[in-house]
Amino acid sequence: MSDLWLPALLLLDSTIRLAAPLILAALAGLFCERAGIVNIALEGKLLGGAFAAAAAAQLTGSAWIGLIAAMAFGWGLAMVHGFATITHRGDQVVSGMALNILVAGLGPVLANAWFQQAGRIPVTAEAARFPSLTLPFAEAARSVPVVGQIYAELLSGHNLLVYLAFLAVPLTFWVIWKTRFGLRLRAVGENPAAVDTAGISVPWMRYRALMVSGALCGIGGAYLSIAQNAGYLRDMSAGKGFLALAALIFGKWRPVPTLLACLLFAFTDALQIRLQGLPVPGIGEIPTQFVQAIPYVVTVVLLAGFVGRAVAPKAIGVPYVKDR
């Protein structure tokens, strides 16, 4: 029993670490898709956030300035998305893809010119990264079986941004379902004409949704480069923005089911890392390449069948034209 218990606990522990950026990106997606803006630029905003955080943290030596820079960069990208899709009613998917590609190129170009490390930005100083936090009494609790171990291994010892990501879920739930802002935001995504009739500006609501979304993605990006890893690498978001988007669809645009979907994806990722080079009973060792593809295959399978009808916000992807 106990020789299975601890590895399982460690697997869940790494699930939580890997889920954090997915959760932040998925919630970012939730805000803007609930407001009727398709956001496949989550990937680019995560990557852009990772770049900005690493660059700012390395230059100033402060993790907090890195975080603020990441949020600002994510916000800026979201505003470009808004300018193209809200102000100029451009295609939201095309705009999102443009931002993804733009950021994928801009990061290595600027990193190469500013840090001369072949497109990488190492973050060297200890203070420029977010440390792990040990919750009170975690060491003392370790000796208590089960409950204490869960507390010490699973709940304690994470990064500040991980706790922030999990806190963001109830917060998002509250904002989207319990506040006037949330009601209006959902209404803009379902029936913008009605919101307009009530004298509320549809574009301004959508811009605000994008602002929240950009900042959340920025935090997710900062987590990648100055918390989980020590620096920025080319394409380090590795499809996480797209996985987050799939989790959002799988979670039917609701915060708690989306959280569960993110945990599922993170679990397959954690399993994938754990399985590398490890023989599976009855099958033998699975080649790394196949193991690495598990999260992507799971995403396709989930999108293909087990979602049921995913009912998107009604006005999603449709630019709002006032005088029609």
């Binding site: 496949i40 470009v80 300018f83 193209a84 899709t85 100029h88 009613r89 451009g90 295609d91 939201q92 998917v93 095309v94 705009s95 893809m97 443009a98 931002l99 993804n100 590609i101 733009l102 950021v103 994928a104 190129g105 801009l106 990061g107 290595p108 170009v109 600027l110 190469n112 010119a113 497109g119 499809g239 797209f242 988007l245 799939a246 669809i249 080649p287 390449q289 196949f290 690495q292 593809a293 992507y296 295959v297 995403t299 396709v300 999108l303 293909a304 069948g305 009808r309 995913a310």
Partner: protein
């Protein structure tokens, strides 16, 4: 998608002036990025243009890259015409390369004129299959094509890495690549053909695939504008409700469009694998599939537009690598930045100039009438 309805603009403005304006803005912003890198944008453009067109050899390289972009541009465009956004051209080309390689490796003893059609068909079949699956998932299961094609890119990369590391690797090699194909399975390069008839052409990997790209463009054009099938495909893309009323099945044409798209993307392998490297390499697709998005949007999904846009990106790739050599502060990823900017301005911000341009033309037309 990026196809609008009836426009008051004359065709030359719609297909010429508007893309040009979008391009100018994209380049101005790219110039600002170059400034931020501490280099002179004008000087950089000089290096770029000279690097792309400065000599017959450089021009040949430009056309070699452009060949890839014609294939991927057509691939993305045919999906656009059916109302689908295919960002999986990269993975489809990669898997297509597998089909081509299997033929070239295992049937390499056959004469070239037998291998060439077999390799072409194998590449197309593999690429089409890899495009068809997301198409089927979209049409029948409602899975978002953008997400599934992205996932299929990752899955294709995993499969190909596995095959190159464990199965197809040249025995004794430490880098993941196959053995060099037998010379029967090499696509003749233009300088070799030139030499046969006494022409002295520069030694560049530009090969017969270039002409195949032109043929594909012609077929693409004829299919969409002259055949019933092409018409049905476009109806589905314009208005799937109207298609249903007309007795056209949108699901069927979405799947066919994705298969055609995958087949077109796979022809990169003819140019890169059969025409240049003569062996299968890791990541031989090098992001060309994503460039196809920019090419299709820039070319407004029109065959001639795609040829011009492919030439532009061919020049950017070739000129860009010369530029990276001359100005170390600028690396090759600068081309990716330009690509993103072009997609942003030619695709997402296509309405940026259109209203003012339309107003201008409306006013001009109103005066003589």
């Amino acid at each position: 998608m990026a196809m609008g309805g009836r426009s008051p603009l004359p065709a030359w403005a719609d297909y010429g002036l508007l893309p040009l304006l979008n391009l100018v803005v994209a380049f101005l912003i790219a110039g600002l990025v170059v400034l931020a890198l501490g280099e002179n944008p004008l000087e950089a453009s000089g290096y770029l243009v000279r690097g792309a067109f400065g000599s017959p050899e450089l021009l040949s390289w430009t056309l070699f890259y452009a060949t890839n972009f014609v294939f991927t541009g057509l691939a993305v465009a045919i999906a656009f015409h059916a109302g689908l956004f295919n960002i999986g051209a990269e993975g489809q080309a990669y898997i297509g390369g597998l089909g081509l390689t299997l033929v070239c490796l295992y049937l390499g003893d056959l004469p070239f004129f037998v291998i060439l059609p077999l390799a072409t068909i194998a590449a197309a079949a593999f690429g089409a299959a890899w495009g068809f699956i997301p198409g089927w998932l979209q049409a029948r299961r409602g899975s978002h094509i953008v997400i599934t094609t992205i996932m299929f890119n990752f899955i294709a990369a995993s499969i190909m890495t596995y095959l190159l590391v464990y199965v197809l690797i040249r025995p004794g090699s430490s880098s993941p690549e196959t053995v060099t194909f037998a010379e029967n399975a090499w696509m003749p390069q233009l300088w070799q053909l030139g030499a046969a008839i006494g022409l002295d052409l520069p030694r560049a990997p530009l090969n017969l695939s270039f002409f195949w790209a032109l043929v594909c463009t012609l077929l693409f054009s004829l299919f969409l504008s002259r055949t019933r099938a092409g018409f049905e495909l476009r109806v589905v893309g314009r208005n799937d409700q109207a298609a249903i009323y007309a007795g056209i099945s949108p699901a069927r044409w979405q799947m066919i469009a994705m298969a055609l798209s995958g087949a077109l993307a796979s022809f990169i392998a003819l140019n890169e694998v059969m025409g240049s490297h003569h062996r299968l390499l890791l990541n031989f697709t090098g992001g060309y599939g994503f460039v196809g998005i920019a090419v299709a949007l820039m070319g407004r999904n029109h065959p001639i537009g795609i040829l011009l846009a492919a030439l532009l990106f061919g020049a950017l790739y070739q000129g860009g690598s010369e530029l990276a050599f001359d100005m170390p502060a600028i690396n090759k990823d600068m081309v990716v930045v330009v690509q993103g900017l072009v997609i942003l301005f030619a695709g997402a911000l296509e309405h940026f100039f259109r209203p003012s341009l339309e107003a201008l033309f409306r006013r001009r037309r109103a005066v003589p009438a």
